[in-house]
Symmetry: C2
Subunit: 192 residues, 2 copies
């Protein structure tokens, strides 16, 4: 399978900023069940094998999971401060939860790539509830770390539109890519 035409620009931006850990963070916007916008920073966990789909991990108890179950769409805003460019990716969402045994291989693979510290967070008390006391609630070693707990969810983001803005240059440069029903990507240069 050939990769999408925006991939090389995105990989270039990632390579150029690879010394900055935050270059792998982006903002994921969702819509709440009430129809309101929501937005948070998440960590890019690579592309799914042989595809243009991006992977993110989340806690099953987090609000974005409830948002995405109702409206399985998101828009990623990924700004690279070093190269001064922005990628906006619009896409469909699939959630890989503990119940979906047919995708357990992918779920296990993503889990294995996480640091010990990141894995520990999936055993922490319920997010966004009143702060648990004492602090040992966060420090107890979990019973097992080899397989992901029920709280571990993988978000698969399948882009159908990419808006690439380069702020360097005067005037700025902007390119719009979109996925045709045929499965091919088209693109056009647009005004910034």
């Amino acid at each position: 399978m050939s990769v999408a035409p925006w991939r090389s620009a995105l990989e270039n931006a990632l390579n150029f900023s690879h010394s900055l850990p935050e270059s792998r963070y982006f903002q994921l916007a969702t819509v709440t069940p009430e129809g309101n916008p929501a937005n948070r920073t998440v960590v890019f966990r690579g592309f799914c094998q042989d595809s243009d789909n991006l992977q993110v991990v989340t806690d099953a108890r987090s609000e974005k999971v409830f948002h995405l179950q109702q409206t399985p769409k998101a828009e990623i805003c990924w700004y690279f401060s070093q190269s001064r460019e922005q990628f906006r990716l619009s896409g469909h969402i699939s959630l890989i939860t503990a119940e979906m045994s047919q995708f357990s291989t992918v779920r296990n693979q993503v889990w294995e790539q996480l640091s010990y510290q990141t894995r520990l967070q999936f055993f922490w008390p319920y997010p966004k509830r009143k702060r648990s006391k004492p602090e040992t609630a966060f420090n107890s070693p979990p019973p097992a770390m080899e397989t992901p707990p029920e709280t571990f969810v993988v978000i698969i983001f399948s882009p159908y539109q990419v808006d690439h803005l380069q702020l360097k240059g005067n005037p700025q440069n902007r390119y719009l890519y979109w996925l045709e029903e045929s499965g091919n990507w088209e693109w056009i240069e647009v005004n910034p």
Copy 2:
């Protein structure tokens, strides 16, 4: 008027990162008329005088203006890489357009604070349409720069909830602030 209790934490983050221009950029999520999420990077243009309302500028021809006319709500995600903390601000939106002569003082004040280069962009060809040729379409000096053109819009963002996450520390710290109907801010410490 007293400032909101989350203001000092946000001002600290801004002061700590003041050497980085991108620390004044944040991601603004909106909802499209079709109910889909949208997300883009914008520049913080300060607080409105004597208030906790944030100012952003935009082009009247940009899609976010159409989104906000239909759903006048947004969520800001503001990540500070140096201090490793995130502020998520949920708020109501007011748009100050050229037609709203009763707010022309505010609109003029924000215009005057912009750089020459930023002002020029409001005279560029229509955003996100097929790239205009020749390049002189972007370089013609505008007739007047003293007063803002019709394309210049100020977005006023009035927060009603703030979610402050500090990634430094183990476990992380997270504080939730919300605006009561009385006009007072309440807050609680929550699990990260």
